[in-house]
């Protein structure tokens, strides 16, 4: 039941907001729908805690430890982002960058995007997963091009083509998967693509087909994860879209795409019985981490900067999943969580910072701590957290990942060190002058909503020094699931 609500509410919100999104109370409505979704998700989670994993509607939908916390996370960040976007978009409107019609489009697409992601997370059917991913892509394409400026159109176009092509590869991969499934499960239509079924018989799936399928799936969904060298759409889309969209792209979409990749990886590895997929993940992860770090070095645009930082972190997470084993998987899941919390909060502050300064260019933003201390401290603490400084949670996961890598694959640690060190220098050298120093920027027309920022950071902080047992239990179970 909750599941129905979780999936239904966003689509319902899409319609409502599409119909009467131009009204003044649209933002509040948006927040309301997100809140409802969050509550439903909370009930779902509590139910899972009480009765264990779910498998409903002809097994088409399921909730297991791996996706339950991602659902909760998605609903939560979706809600906070909605809160943040309320004043933010008003300010944008006040600056005359948006018309009410665009705002309507924005709100309904926002809900559609949420719905698509939740669908992708909750479905048990690899085909439906693909459909949901495609839907998420399409909705975000519209969101990225919201401003209709040359830059935003270009970004959206690249995003659309690259991810479209990528998703097409993923479809082919899915077809191959289905093909292999038919070989073993026999022809049974819908159920042949159910992840649970496939997982049950993965040992008997045809290895060659599955390894081919994995290549296509990896390239396909990996494009959306932003793995180098398939990442090119990511910085453009993050920089040119409205900030709330950048926040959810970085914070949620990448996670969902990676979730898809990992689901496939579990099947394939079970079938071909070799660590080939893990090796692929590790290589992609390292490459993305290192390249992302080096890209950071010469950024001039604040949102682009953090877009690249997302590439770097996705690389680290992918690498951790590639390492495998209970600890690395645990760390990867933890890193997913803290990264999406931290990165979204950073984008919140970055958005307001660029609004105060009137530009996204880094050397145009100065002395935030003087003009509006909350934004300044938010940005500083957020960056410190994302750079893996304790006591923030990002450090906890990086601690586990690095120590594991040092024991398992020592040859990778120099690359990781390089990536982390270069990323630190790259980001901090740019954040420090933005936060500190003199400035004479005017104040904002609407008071910014920075509660989400500090809520997120507080959660990250807590995760760094104390992890609720229930959460830890999920992580462990999920880690076991991924193997």
């Amino acid at each position: 039941m909750e599941l129905l609500l979780v999936l239904g509410l966003p689509f319902f919100g899409t319609l409502i907001l599409a119909l009467l999104g131009a009204r003044r109370f649209a933002p509040e409505l948006n927040v309301g729908v997100s809140l409802a979704t969050l509550i439903a998700a909370a009930f779902l989670v509590s139910r899972v805690i009480r009765f264990g994993p779910l498998l409903v509607w002809h097994e088409q939908f399921f909730v297991d430890p791996f996706n339950v916390f991602l659902v909760a996370l998605t609903a939560f960040v979706g809600f906070t982002t909605a809160i943040f976007s309320r004043p933010y978009m008003r300010i944008e409107q006040a600056h005359g960058r948006l018309t009410p019609q665009r705002l309507r489009l924005y709100h309904s697409m926002y809900q559609l995007f949420m719905g698509a992601m939740l669908l992708a997370l909750l479905t048990n059917n690899m085909g439906l997963l693909w459909v949901a991913m495609e839907a998420a892509t399409l909705s975000t394409v519209l969101l990225v091009s919201l401003y209709r400026t040359k830059a935003s159109l270009e970004a959206a176009w690249k995003y659309f083509i690259l991810c479209g092509v990528g998703i097409a590869q993923a479809l082919f991969g899915t077809i191959l998967l289905y093909f292999a499934a038919e070989q073993t499960l026999g022809r049974q239509g819908m159920t042949a693509l159910l992840w649970t079924h496939l997982n049950a018989v993965k040992a008997h799936l045809e290895p060659t087909v599955l390894s081919l399928a994995f290549v296509f799936l990896l390239v396909g969904y990996g494009t959306k994860v932003g793995l180098a060298p398939l990442h090119n759409w990511l910085p453009d889309a993050h920089a040119e879209g409205p900030t709330p969209v950048s926040a959810v792209l970085s914070g949620l979409l990448l996670n969902v795409a990676l979730y898809a990749v990992i689901r496939c990886k579990v099947l394939v590895e079970g079938s071909i019985g070799s660590t080939l997929p893990s090796r692929m993940l590790m290589t992609f992860g390292l490459l993305s981490a290192v390249l992302g770090a080096f890209f950071l070095w010469r950024q001039r645009d604040i949102k682009r900067l953090f877009g690249y930082s997302s590439i770097e972190h996705m690389g680290i997470i992918t690498f951790a999943f590639g390492l495998g084993g209970p600890i690395a998987n645990f760390a990867a899941l933890l890193h997913m969580t803290v990264h999406s919390l931290t990165k979204s909060s950073i984008f919140f502050t970055a958005g307001h910072a660029s609004q105060t300064a009137g530009t996204q260019r880094i050397d145009g933003i100065r002395g935030l701590i003087g003009t509006s201390p909350t934004i300044g401290w938010g940005l500083m603490l957020g960056s410190v957290a994302i750079l893996g400084m304790p006591p923030f949670g990002v450090f906890a996961s990086e601690f586990l990942i690095l120590t594991t890598a040092m024991r398992e694959d020592p040859w990778t640690t120099p690359f990781l060190l390089l990536a982390l060190g270069v990323a630190f220098a790259g980001i901090f050298s740019k954040v420090q002058p933005m936060v500190f120093g003199e400035s004479d920027a005017p104040r904002l027309p609407h008071s910014p909503a920075l509660v989400p920022v500090f809520v997120h950071l507080a959660m990250v902080l807590v995760l760094g020094i104390y992890m609720p047992p229930a959460l830890a239990e999920w992580y462990r179970a999920a880690a076991r699931l991924i193997g």
């Binding site: 290549v215 390239v219 180098a228 594991t404």
Partner: protein
């Protein structure tokens, strides 16, 4: 280990579970910091109420740690329900951590009292926020020392770095300070990564990151060496060991003086602590090559620091370089200890380590004292450049007196504390000929000579420091209005100065504390032949020293002479102008400047520096002489690295060429490549 009577009394009056009390006190620090946020702008509330309380907490920690050491309890451990799910926070109080907590409390008390009088309104960060950062800094240092698992250690370690970074950049409107802060935090983070990897090696496959597991783990020589080298890199970067020292002379002057004092006096010591913890406690083997490496690094840092301190013209930079020198001395001691221990000469190892520990304690006292004194001078004159100071002994007699104690102590002169540790270090050098490595036996005496040179150079540096700031004629007219420190500041200075004298005159107590540590690590305490009168590391007939007799003797002779002179001769005296070989028109510009005082050093050790001179032409209407000294290592090591990364970044950025077809090509090729790879 028999306890000092007064110490045993103190311990009798204190609860046995020292660890929990220490934790409570550390929590009190955090609490004080948070309370400060209630009225962040009120300087009176924060400075005059919270900081003295913080100082009290310091005293409490000092007493607890001292009593723990004196009574020689078994190590206490504790587990907090925090941290990672499988890895709750482990804490442990043993002799080693006890000693460094003693150090922390002792120096911290003085600094906090001074800080209470130091912070003025309208300087950089709001006082409340500063108080928070300050006390978090203290608490994190205490936790670093108490941590008993890698995760808690790293958390405390980086919290320490972070809070100190915010303290350093409290006056962030000045670009140089921002730059210094960035360099500092960057080096700290890189170091932390190395430490992390070192722990990753040491946990040795048992996925427990507790220190107990690491003690149990048996590593192959290769992995043990890897862990040691990584740890040396990481902790050396924090301690300011050459060549990882570049951040230190930038960051320490940039910070407000009490913060400089804490960083130099306390934070560097946490690095020393961690090095000892890893080197002697966690790693189960030690190879003499490690000792040789550490010894070489330490000696080089010591010499390097002394030489660079001698040519500085900014008083806080001078002290920062002198910190590098002292850290070098401490690591020299550690290196010797490893050497001796690796060849099973445990008594000598204990001696060398005791010297290192004692020097760490002493340095934390006199270096904080001097940094605080510069703080008072800074407030009184708004001048940091030695070229604009002078003659302050007349306007600031209190600060001058306390600073004199610090100066003599850091110059390694008896009967003050600096001398004791350096003397012990030299003593332990004397036993190196018993090492079973003929080659080392040839080399190490030269090390002793380098040590002697360093110590003597330190005296030179300190004469320059004190003489140019406090003696002579004021180089600026404004210095006449300089005001002396307020009573809180004086109290802080007095506390530290008293510490210097006490340890100098009665080193036995401190040595017993160090002996507890060496007893834990080597089963050897350096107390043989020591009496209440004198210390004798190995045997009295070999070498002994008694600060008490020194002080008493000198005072007695001085007194007798004074009285005698008055009785036999007379006390008549008249004030006149200085004679100066009868040259009548001399003025304050004719004294040696800081540059002038450094000139012989520049002349002798030119190879160390990168100098830019600007000499006046013969027929120059307004002749001006400028010289700029740079660290060669900066250009040799750091700039090339930065340039290399920049170049790589440029190369990488070609990937993002902006052309869609190329992007498609990338993914196409990736696809094809993977397919080929799979087939």
């Amino acid at each position: 280990m028999n306890a000092e009577p007064w110490l045993s009394y103190a311990s009798a009056s204190l609860p046995v579970q020292a660890l929990s009390w220490l934790l409570i006190l550390a929590a009190c620090w955090c609490l004080l910091g948070l309370i400060g946020l209630l009225r962040p702008r009120s300087i009176h509330f924060v400075a005059h109420a919270l900081f003295p309380l913080g100082a009290l907490v310091c005293v409490g920690i000092m007493l607890l740690a001292g009593s723990f050491l004196a009574t020689g309890h078994a190590a206490e451990t504790m587990i907090l329900p925090l941290g990672l799910p499988d890895l709750p926070f482990h804490l442990r109080l043993d002799a080693l951590s006890g000693f460094f907590l003693l150090l922390l409390g002792m120096a911290g008390a003085g600094i906090s009292i001074f800080a209470a009088g130091y912070f003025r309104a309208g300087e950089g960060t709001a006082p409340g926020l500063m108080g928070l950062q300050y006390h978090i800094f203290l608490a994190s240092m205490a936790l670093v020392i108490l941590a008993d698992d890698a995760y808690l250690f790293m958390v405390a370690w980086e919290t320490m770095a972070l809070s100190s970074y915010f303290l350093v950049t409290s006056q962030h409107r000045i670009p140089e300070i921002r730059r210094a802060g960035f360099l500092y935090i960057l080096m700290a983070h890189l170091g932390a990564l190395c430490i992390l990897l070192s722990f990753g090696v040491m946990q040795g496959g048992s996925w427990l990151f507790t220190f107990d597991a690491m003690r149990a783990a048996s590593l192959t020589p290769f992995w043990a060496t890897t862990a040691f080298i990584l740890a040396l890199l990481g902790f050396g970067a924090k301690a300011g060991l050459v060549p990882m020292h570049v951040w230190l002379p930038e960051a320490h002057p940039a910070a407000p003086s009490p913060v400089s004092a804490m960083m130099s006096g306390l934070m560097l010591k946490t690095a020393v602590y961690a090095m000892l913890r890893v080197g002697f406690d966690l790693l189960h083997v030690r190879f003499w090559q490690w000792g040789a490496l550490v010894l070489a690094l330490g000696l080089f840092s010591a010499l390097f620091g002394a030489i660079f301190a001698a040519v500085q013209t900014d008083m806080k930079r001078l002290l920062a370089y002198s910190s590098i020198e002292n850290i070098g001395l401490i690591f020299t001691g550690i290196g010797l200890a490893i050497l001796f221990d690796a060849s099973n000469l445990r008594l000598f190892a204990a001696l060398a380590l005791a010297a290192a520990l004692l020097h760490a304690l002493n340095h934390s006292l006199f270096k904080s004292l001097l940094f605080l004194a510069t703080g008072s001078v800074l407030h009184a004159t708004r001048q940091r450049s030695l070229g604009k100071l002078g003659g302050l002994i007349r306007t600031m007699p209190w600060v001058a007196t306390f600073a004199l104690v610090g100066t003599l102590a850091i110059a390694g002169l008896p009967p003050l504390n600096g001398f004791v540790s350096e003397w012990l270090l030299l003593q332990s050098f004397l036993f190196t000929p018993q090492l079973p490595h003929a080659f080392l036996n040839m080399l190490i005496p030269l090390g002793a000579a380098a040590l002697a040179l360093t110590v003597a150079l330190a005296a030179y540096v300190m004469v320059k420091f004190y003489g140019i700031i406090f003696l002579g004629q004021p180089r600026e007219a404004t210095l006449a209005q300089a005001h002396d420190a307020n009573w809180l500041e004086r109290l802080g200075l007095f506390w530290l100065a008293a510490g210097c004298v006490a340890i100098g005159v009665q080193p036995q107590v401190a040595l017993r504390a160090a002996g507890a540590v060496t007893g834990m690590l080597f089963g050897q305490a350096v107390t043989s032949g020591a009496s209440i009168w004198q210390i004798a590391p190995i045997a009295p007939e070999q070498a002994s020293y008694s600060g008490l007799i020194f002080l008493a003797g000198i005072l007695a002779v001085v007194g007798i002479t004074f009285v005698g002179v008055r009785l036999l001769a007379h006390g008549r005296m008249r004030r006149t102008d200085a004679w100066d070989c009868g040259y009548p028109w001399q003025n304050s510009r004719m004294q040696d400047t800081a540059e002038g005082f450094g000139q012989p050093i520049r002349h002798m050790f030119g190879a160390f520096f990168r100098m830019e001179r600007e000499l006046p032409a013969p027929a120059d209407a307004t002749p001006r002489y400028r010289i700029q000294i740079e660290d060669r290592l900066w250009r040799a090591l750091y700039l090339p690295t930065a340039r290399g990364v920049q170049r790589l970044a440029d190369a990488v950025s070609v990937l993002q060429g902006g052309r869609l077809s190329i992007y498609l090509l990338y993914s196409f090729l990736t696809l094809i490549g993977l397919l080929v790879f799979v087939l």
